[in-house]
């Protein structure tokens, strides 16, 4: 028995020494920087992330890489499935030795990936909207501190944006008293509606019905007519996962009810929506999730980015995830260089880089395609001076920001059939 214990102790010691050697070896052997990009690669969100990361990396490599190391991109496909997402994240972190992982759409798969991130201690510049992610960071900082939300604000700020949208419509002369909500049957919409109810109540606006629709749902004509029969002034979509926001828009334009369509519809952010619906996307009011539109880039870098994207891929970004993914690469490069400049032993160490990312707070945003700053729980900072979901509208084949005035490049235009 004593002999067995001695062997076991020896084995453990051997494993520990080997592990240290491997870590040391990796450090000594660094010949490149590896950036992992993960997402549903058949979806516009994932495709845009991959393309944006590759574009940023190409630009960075052309300028000498990060601290002189060439940057390599490795790709993981979540297929929007939690198990696959976790496996792919682990592959990127442990087999491909990614220094940082970027992306991760959407909220459901993000929760699983965060566990793999914590186990592998991998820096994760992430894309998903549930407030639950940042809550994890706040509740167990040491475990989840490697996670930063880069692409869009968390879901609870959608409520602020949507309430502002209603206020803006009222201020613009379109009276809103009754709202009919159509939303994803998904975890991310619950906190949005929960936060939205009191905000609308403050404005004297009633929610006449809150309808949840499953993924792939298409029978919106009935819902539009129900909204009409309930005297709603506004049909408010809160749709992302359902994947059929374009059908809602098309059926709204076909039926021409005396109700405005205004809310958060991920389909409306797609710059190609007008073409994909043969011009039937006109007049939909939507939130420019992620804080940028091709037609109204908020920063110079954003303007350069969308044109570079078009030049490289022949079309503009297919989803707003492109901005976040592109920013994430430059953000990573920036913090690594800051750490190196400060004389850190290992400027690629995720524990070190967390401290540098946290330096970008309310008083010190970094100006990328959008002004990026983080809250203490690593959520992306919301506000007119940071990232927010601009109130926008489709008008004759073009997306315009119509609120707030500081960034607006158009005005609200009501559909001709609305009295």
């Amino acid at each position: 028995m004593r002999y067995a214990k001695a062997v076991l102790t020896l084995l453990i010691l051997l494993a520990a020494v080997t592990s240290l050697c491997v870590q040391g070896g990796q450090k000594a052997e660094r010949g490149k920087v590896v950036i992992g990009v993960i997402g549903p690669m058949s979806s516009p969100e994932g495709m845009a992330e991959e393309k944006a990361v590759k574009l940023a990396v190409e630009e960075i490599n052309a300028q000498g890489g990060i601290l002189g190391y060439p940057v390599e991109v490795v790709v993981g496909d979540t297929k929007l499935d939690s198990n696959t997402a976790s496996t792919e994240f682990r592959r990127l972190a442990t087999i491909e030795n990614a220094d940082v992982v970027i992306g991760g759409f959407s909220s459901g798969v993000m929760l699983t990936m965060m566990e793999t991130m914590a186990e592998t201690k991998t820096l994760f510049l992430a894309d998903a909207s549930s407030p639950a992610h940042a809550k994890k960071v706040a509740e167990n900082y040491d475990r989840y501190k490697y996670w930063f939300r880069v692409t869009q604000n968390n879901g609870s700020t959608f409520a602020l944006d949507l309430a502002d949208m209603v206020k803006f419509l009222k201020d613009s002369g379109y009276d809103v008293k009754k709202v009919y909500i159509i939303r994803d049957e998904h975890v991310w919409t619950d906190p949005v509606v929960e936060a939205l109810i009191p905000l609308l109540e403050e404005q004297g606006v009633e929610i006449v019905k809150d309808v949840r629709v499953p993924r792939g749902y298409s029978e919106y004509e009935q819902l539009i007519q129900e909204a009409d029969s309930l005297d709603a002034d506004l049909i408010m979509p809160i749709l992302a996962i359902v994947g059929t926001g374009d059908i809602l828009t098309k059926q709204w334009v076909t039926l021409k009810p005396n109700i405005l369509l205004a809310g958060h519809d991920l389909a409306a952010i797609d710059a190609e929506l007008y073409n994909k619906t043969n011009g039937m996307a006109n007049y939909e009011v939507f939130l420019a999730d992620g804080g940028a539109l091709i037609t109204a880039p908020p920063t110079e870098k954003c303007k350069e980015f969308v044109e570079a994207y078009k030049k490289k891929y022949g079309h503009y970004p297919e989803s707003h995830q492109a901005y976040g993914a592109y920013d994430a690469v430059y953000l990573y490069k920036t913090v690594v260089e800051m750490a190196a400049k400060d004389g850190e032993d290992d400027p690629f160490n995720p524990d070190v880089l967390v401290n540098y990312l946290e330096k970008f707070d309310a008083s010190n945003p970094i100006m990328l395609t959008r002004p990026i700053a983080f809250y203490k729980n690593h959520d992306l900072m919301w506000g007119d001076n940071y990232v927010r979901n601009w109130i926008s509208q489709w008008q004759d084949g073009k997306q315009y920001i119509i609120y707030p005035e500081s960034v607006a490049n158009g005005e609200l235009k009501l559909p001709p059939w609305i009295e």
Binding site: P44, P214, L223, Q225, T244, I247, K250, L255, K276
Partner: protein, 284 residues
């Protein structure tokens, strides 16, 4: 209450029409060849994609639709070729057609992504029936679907080729002995069924939008409807497609949209528990 009833009847009928087209083709193939064609949904989406892409590139819209139908017909022929060597093994048939369906779905995903694209409706606008707005395209789709289904039914029950189809479905070996070229009948059935699915897809893309994932939805609906109607019963499939339409609309009206497909599938399971052969099926 009359308003609600009217709404259910109107919407249920128009919803049922399109699914009737998809399901009748699925049923026809099974009835004649005992093949469960899991690539049936692929014909539904492929025809729509071809029609949308061609019409979007400036081709005449009717020619684009014909091209879409031709592609779905070719897909039916491909299913015939692929299943011919394994026709006697039902499991292999399912695997082969399912693999083809998944392959086509992946090809579409890689090339077009998972977001929907739609076709401009051939007829626009809507009519109001007792305060219920029904789009003209829905009405046109319903009329076209019913016309197609009636023609199909007449062809099967009244024509010479229809009699060959019935003979083959009842006993293919006996049909062969009477001089019927069973293989030609099978090709005809596969191609015709796929064209019906393709036609439904083209109509669907005008009312809704089509994406690679829609192929799975079409397959599930077709499968559910055909089982409800009784495997192999063409008329059963047509009737049950309308039943499914009414169940969907009833659920959306009284329970909410989130329950629509769940209740539809639950109702089908319940009916099958009471009547395992489906509404119009007979025990073999």
């Amino acid at each position: 209450m009359i308003d609600v009833l009217l709404k259910i009847i109107v919407f249920g009928t128009v919803v049922g029409g399109i699914w009737g087209l998809v399901a009748s083709g699925f049923s026809l193939i099974f009835g004649v060849s005992r093949i469960l064609n899991f690539a049936h949904g692929a014909a539904f989406v492929c025809a729509a994609y071809v029609a949308i892409l061609l019409s979007g590139s400036g081709f005449n819209v009717y020619l684009s639709i014909l091209a879409g139908l031709a592609v779905s017909g070719l897909l039916g022929y491909l299913v015939y070729l692929l299943t011919r060597p394994v026709r006697k093994n039902e499991v292999m048939v399912i695997i082969v057609t399912l693999a083809l369906a998944l392959l086509i779905q992946q090809i579409l995903l890689v090339n077009f992504g998972d977001k929907g694209i739609s076709m401009l409706p051939l007829v626009q606008g809507f009519v109001e029936l007792n305060n219920i707005k029904v789009t003209n395209m829905r009405i046109a789709s319903f009329v076209l679907a019913v016309a197609s289904l009636v023609s199909l039914d007449l062809m099967v029950s009244k024509t010479r080729i229809g009699k060959k189809i019935i003979a083959t479905s009842q006993d293919s070996e006996a049909a062969m002995l009477t001089g019927i070229d069973v293989e030609k009948v099978l090709i005809l059935v596969m191609v015709l069924s796929s064209i019906l699915a393709g036609f439904a897809g083209i109509l669907y893309a005008q009312i809704f939008a089509i994406s690679p994932e829609t192929s799975l939805k079409a397959l599930i609906y077709a499968f559910a409807i055909v089982i409800l109607g009784g495997l192999g019963s063409l008329r059963g499939s047509i009737v049950s497609s309308f039943i499914v339409g009414y169940i969907l609309v009833l659920t959306i009206t009284f329970l909410g949209a989130r329950w629509s497909e769940f209740v539809m599938l639950l109702a089908i399971v319940t009916i099958l528990v009471v009547r395992p052969t489906g509404l119009f099926g007979v025990e073999e």
